[in-house]
């Protein structure tokens, strides 16, 4: 992951804009913003990945396989590369703590269905086509909904939460996490600014 200061190319402009303002409170507090961001960056940069706090290795493999089908790796990186499973594990340890029994029950059902398709297999051991077919069966269940939710959040939340590694989710969308932006922002306002064609 790039250090935050590299993303934030506009920061110099921002501080420059402040110079004539005399808004002392902002300058002093900006230090706090920067240090919080730096801390988050450091936490994400820790290698190798931490051990799972809540999920067993098997459970993690199954949920990761689900996340990978929800947000697959194809011409662009997906949930696996974004480390979504680490986000999910951490969320089950913290803000989604009350979901743990529910997730375990869902996994149990999922693996029962997996074993029906292929004797003795866990979900993570099925082919991706089989996994897709099985997820299709359960796509309206709260368990699938919850896993989809955590996969998406893990893909696109701030990397400090453990997912969205290397800003993979944000890069997929074309989202630039700068602390400030400057016009033109997009194609149409750039075109208008150039006095481009008026419809």
């Amino acid at each position: 992951m790039k250090p935050v200061s590299e993303w934030n190319t506009s920061r110099r402009d921002f501080v420059g804009a402040l110079a004539g303002v005399g808004a002392a409170w902002i300058v002093s507090d900006w230090v706090a913003v920067e240090s919080a961001l730096a801390h988050a960056t450091q936490a994400v940069a820790q290698q190798p990945p931490p051990a799972f706090a809540v999920l067993t290795a098997d459970e993690a493999a199954d949920i990761e396989a689900m996340a990978e089908r929800i947000m697959p790796s194809d011409e662009t990186p997906g949930a696996k590369e974004a480390g979504v499973i680490y986000f999910i594990d951490r969320s089950l340890q913290t803000f989604s703590k009350d979901q743990v029994p529910f997730a375990r029950a869902g996994l149990k059902d999922l693996n029962k269905r997996a074993a029906k398709r292929k004797a003795g297999a866990r979900f993570s051991q099925l082919s991706t086509a089989e996994q897709d077919a099985l997820l299709k069966e359960i796509e309206n269940t709260p368990f699938f909904g919850g896993t989809r939710y955590l996969t998406i959040v893990g893909m696109f939340a701030n990397p400090s939460y453990g997912g969205n590694r290397d800003s993979i989710g944000w890069k997929l969308l074309g989202f630039e996490p700068h602390a400030a932006h400057k016009p033109p922002f997009g194609y149409y306002d750039a075109q208008a600014a150039k006095g481009g064609a008026k419809a």
Binding site: S10, F14, A17, L18, G20, V21, G22, A23, A24, W25, I26, D29, W30, V31, A32, V33, A36, R69, I70, M71, P72, D74, T76, G78, F95, D132, L135, E139, R148, I152, V153, M155, F156, A157, N158, Y161, G169, L172, L173, G174, F175, E176, P177, H178, A179, A180, H181, K182, P183, P184, F185, G186, Y187, Y188, D189, A190, Q191, A192, K198, A199
Partner: protein
């Protein structure tokens, strides 16, 4: 926003005023009273945050409610039903500065018609549509005060109400959604105009210009460019040395004496310990829901139905404003996540038009609505599109930068059966009886929202969107604008406060916030709440000086 060294008033010596709530109205009230020499304690239920704590963290603020209310609420659509948790709710920010910290900063003035609609249109059966006891002309100087003291960027648009001074700042830079909107609206014969926003477009009163970071709606502004109470009036109040803002202080009761006068308030401090702050007068600015709850929970022998409630109207006539959207995807990237949420609006449907066959009016804006990464990915897939797997991922990749929303904002009729009451069973973390919301949009409100939704789609069509869609208009179960629940009026039987915000029943109790509104406007009520607060603050200070409280 740096906390000034502020006085610490003793609990047992009555201060001139206790203000309950530090949001759009409470902050201005604190400034207006303290700068006129009066001592003020502001009790705010939420914490005091510094700019460094306003992070760009979508998970924390959008999904985990980092600065929003977490008190339990029950909801039902009619008084015949049993209200339940999880069926609906209310959203407001809970911190010093209140919802003015996290709001989107759309800053429409009301127009003269909003104050006299009942006279112009006649009454509407089954509703409490009445004229305000004040006119636009009476409020105009205070709208101008808001423009100049709070900081509003804009330029007068077609059909705008008269103004005594120009906007203090030019409009913010236009965005791609604004350009698309402007072009298509012109084709349709509408009258698009730059959106008035309570965000700095240039250096203003010691605050920097907006840095276009995009984190306005739902977030606090770490730059102080959003014109919240916290960034504008609260520091001025504290500088007087006569205003103490006490965070983490949840007021549960306004107390009265035998004469029926207010003596102070009981509140829980940060350690959940009960405290009693004495005051010569109390101003409740806790928002249209919390204000009603506090008054209804402040029962006594003298006020058996709740404080200031001899009319029975405390909590009644709740109005949310109508809202409807159409989302569209365009050929080229717009990158709507950059910059402020709204840059162009059109108000061609402001007046209620009998030809439409129903009451209502509204305006439309082009905006980035759910264009931050998580919310976008969770919720904005076109109907019948896969919501997981490779096709879903491809859609996210294509759509994120190309999406914009056209948003219709409209009227809510005041209906007595839409209201805030006290839930008979549910209590909050302090053991205080919780809010029960009863709400079902008036049929005309739904028709107006549908009418605007058709306009929103028309816009996308005229603009050449690749794809656009809307969700059907349904009765609302979730309120963000909390209006009308302690309405002002000249008659003590049909209103809660008089035209100067004094409770009809209690001479030293004042109420000023969204609850004061008699009608809903067309959306974006904060500008009007702030103008009312400037006007009320000035008058209340005069009353205090003349010994008329």
């Amino acid at each position: 926003m740096t906390q000034q060294p502020s006085p610490r008033f003793p609990l047992s010596a009555p201060v001139d005023f206790v203000i309950v709530g530090s949001g759009a109205a409470g902050g201005i009230m604190a400034k207006e009273l303290s700068t006129r020499g009066l001592s003020v304690v502001v009790l705010e239920q939420g914490p005091r945050l510094t700019p460094g704590q306003f992070e760009h963290d979508e998970l924390k603020y959008w999904l985990q409610g980092g600065i929003t209310n977490n008190s339990p609420v029950t909801f039902r659509a009619s008084e015949k039903e049993k209200a339940e948790r999880g069926r609906g709710g209310l959203l407001y920010a809970k911190l010093v500065g209140g919802s003015s910290v996290h709001f989107t900063a759309n800053f429409w003035r009301f127009r003269p018609i909003d104050f006299i609609e009942a006279t112009k249109l006649g009454s509407i059966a089954g509703t409490g549509l009445v004229d305000w006891p004040i006119t636009y002309e009476e409020l105009e100087p205070y709208y101008t005060k808001v423009d100049w003291e709070i900081g509003v960027s804009g330029v007068p648009g077609p059909g705008d109400p008269p103004r005594s001074r120009p906007y203090p700042m030019p409009p913010l830079p236009n965005k791609s959604a604004g350009v698309i909107f402007e072009r298509a609206a012109a084709k349709l014969g509408w009258h698009p105009t730059p959106a008035p926003m309570a965000i700095t477009s240039q250096q203003f009163n010691g605050r920097p210009p907006c840095q276009q970071c995009g984190y306005c709606m739902g977030f606090g502004c770490e730059y102080g460019a959003k014109s919240s109470s916290l960034a504008t009036v609260i520091p001025i109040a504290e500088k007087t040395g006569r205003c103490e803002v006490r965070p983490n202080s949840f007021v549960r009761k306004v107390e009265t004496d035998k004469r029926g006068r207010v003596t102070g308030v009981v509140y829980f401090d940060g350690d959940k310990k009960e405290q009693r702050q004495l005051a010569k007068a109390v101003v409740v600015c806790a928002n249209g829901a919390e204000t009603s709850r506090l008054l209804l929970n402040s029962k006594s022998n003298a006020f058996p139905h709740g404080l200031a409630n001899s009319s029975g109207l405390v909590g009644k006539y709740l109005m949310f404003n109508g809202g409807t959207t159409a989302t569209g995807i365009y050929e080229h990237p717009l990158n709507e996540y950059k910059g402020v949420q709204v840059t162009r609006i059109a108000m061609d449907w402001y007046d209620s038009d009998p030809k439409r066959g129903f009451y209502g009016g509204g305006g439309i804006d082009a905006r980035f609505d759910v264009n931050l990464p998580i919310i976008f990915a969770l919720g904005t897939v076109p109907p019948n599109h896969p919501t997981w797997g490779a096709a879903f991922k491809r859609y996210l990749r294509w759509g994120f930068s190309r999406q914009m929303t056209v948003y219709g904002h409209s009227t809510s009729l005041p209906v007595a059966s839409n209201n805030i009451s006290i839930d008979p069973k549910l209590k909050d973390e302090f053991g205080v009886p919780a809010i029960r919301v009863t709400y079902n949009d008036h049929p005309d409100d739904l028709k107006m929202a549908e009418y605007l939704q058709a306009r929103c789609k028309e816009l996308h069509d005229a603009a050449g969107a690749k794809v656009y869609w809307s969700n059907p208009v349904r009765p609302q179960t979730f309120g963000v604008h909390l209006l009308g629940t302690c309405r002002m009026g000249n008659d003590a039987k049909s209103s809660v406060i008089d035209k100067y915000h004094r409770a009809h029943d209690v001479p030293n109790l004042f109420i000023c916030d969204g609850s004061s509104l008699v009608t809903s406007g067309r959306g974006q009520p904060t500008m009007t709440i702030m103008a009312l607060a400037f006007r009320a603050g000035e008058k209340i200070a005069e009353f205090a000086k003349r010994g008329e409280i």
